[in-house]
Structure formats: structure tokens, C-alpha cells
Symmetry: C2
Subunit: 122 residues, 2 copies
């Protein structure tokens, strides 16, 4: 039988507790589908060669840009275009789905203590 | 200011009622993020050159394969790999998020009355 079992996003999120450490849950056309828990402020960064897709699954967050802020609640989606500097912030814990190019580090170009180079699979 | 307004998936879904007619709600790295309402059975088809991502936002659906069935509830995600024949079915109305390569018809290779070649934007 084709091995095509659905992935429960809530189930994957229940499997870890740390913040700002995305887990890869599926592969899609040279991209990785990831889930993450956010709380607090991330760092300013941009992805030179890939758009980044955010979908809020639980809670709320904002994405700060150099010239504005996007507020995202549950079920809100935003694609940050490649090259655009942004800083994700969550005042309280927020669960998101992310899509990035396969292998893309979470803080590409701006290494910090929050950098995760090789993401775990959940 | 950077034009980066979040997209409410529920808001987009509230804007139309027809089934099996995906709307494009965002662009992501040469792909289209789409939302759709499903009810009943679609046709058997495959996408030779693109994976297809399904995420159930509301309700439940199943994806039939030639050798098995995947049952998806709310918050369940499944990537159908390129080339794999599948048939989406929803016994009651189901709302989903889909990602396909930009311009990919919904029934590529198997044209039918359900084919949507140029998708509307919502």
C-alpha cells in the first residue's frame, strides 16, 4: 500500500515544548513543511532566496517589518517574500505552520543563538 | 509601507460557496496557495510534475489511492507525491488549504467537467 499517512499538526506540536525550534513534518516539492512554537521575540533576518510561509494554527503573533507590522490570528496566513527583513514576535505562546525551501536555516544570514541549521523531524 | 497584509483563510472561504473550485489566496515560491470547498467525490487524477499539499481546515475528507485510503480530519496534512493517482472525497462539506505549482490545473491530465484551468483569485 502507498505509504501516505496523514500528519496531525496538533499531534506533532504536542511532541515538543521548546520555542523557536521548528520541526520538519513533511516534504513538498523541494520544500519543508515545518511546525513551531513561538514565544517572545525572534531576531531580524531575511531569506535571500526563498519566500517564507506562515500560517497561525493556535494563538496569535505578529511579524514586524522595517516599515510596518502584520498581526496574525488563528487561521491567518502570510507569505514573507524573499529578501524582506522581518522579525516574528509572539506575546504569548503561538503555534504555527511554516514552509521554507528544504534545508533553509531559520536565521539564514544572521546567525545567532537562535539559529537551527539542521532541523529535527517530528 | 511593505504591503504584507495577512490573509484570513476563513474570510476567503466565506466569500464563495461552490465546490471543487479552488481560489488562489497567496503566491509562494512559484506555487499557489489555494483554498477550496469540497463535497462529494472528485475524479481520479495525478499531477505528473508537482506534489500536492492538502491541509484540512474544517470538516473531514478522505483521499483515495489505488491501494489505500487516507482519512483526514481538521488539522491533518497530507502531501500527495507527484505522479500518484488519487481521488479526493468528502461525505459532507469540507474546507481545505491546497498548495500546487503555479498554474497547475486541478485535474491535469484528466480533463472533465470539474476541470478549472485558470483559477480565480479570492
Amino acid at each position: 500500500m502507498t505509504s501516505l499517512a496523514p500528519t496531525s499538526l496538533a499531534g506533532k506540536l504536542a511532541g515538543f515544548a521548546d520555542h523557536w525550534n521548528p520541526r520538519v513534518v513533511a516534504d513538498y516539492n523541494d520544500h519543508e513543511v515545518r511546525v513551531a512554537k513561538l514565544e517572545g521575540a525572534f531576531i531580524w533576518h531575511s531569506h535571500a532566496e526563498t519566500d517564507e510561509l506562515f500560517l497561525v494554527l493556535k494563538g496569535a503573533m505578529r511579524i514586524e517589518f522595517r516599515d510596518g507590522i502584520a498581526e496574525l490570528g488563528e487561521g491567518d496566513l502570510l507569505v514573507v517574500p524573499k529578501g524582506v527583513e522581518h522579525r516574528p514576535v509572539a506575546d504569548a505562546e503561538c503555534h504555527i505552520l511554516l514552509i521554507d525551501r528544504a534545508g533553509e536555516p531559520n536565521t539564514v544570514g544572521q546567525p545567532s543563538h537562535l539559529t537551527r541549521q539542521a532541523l529535527e523531524r517530528a
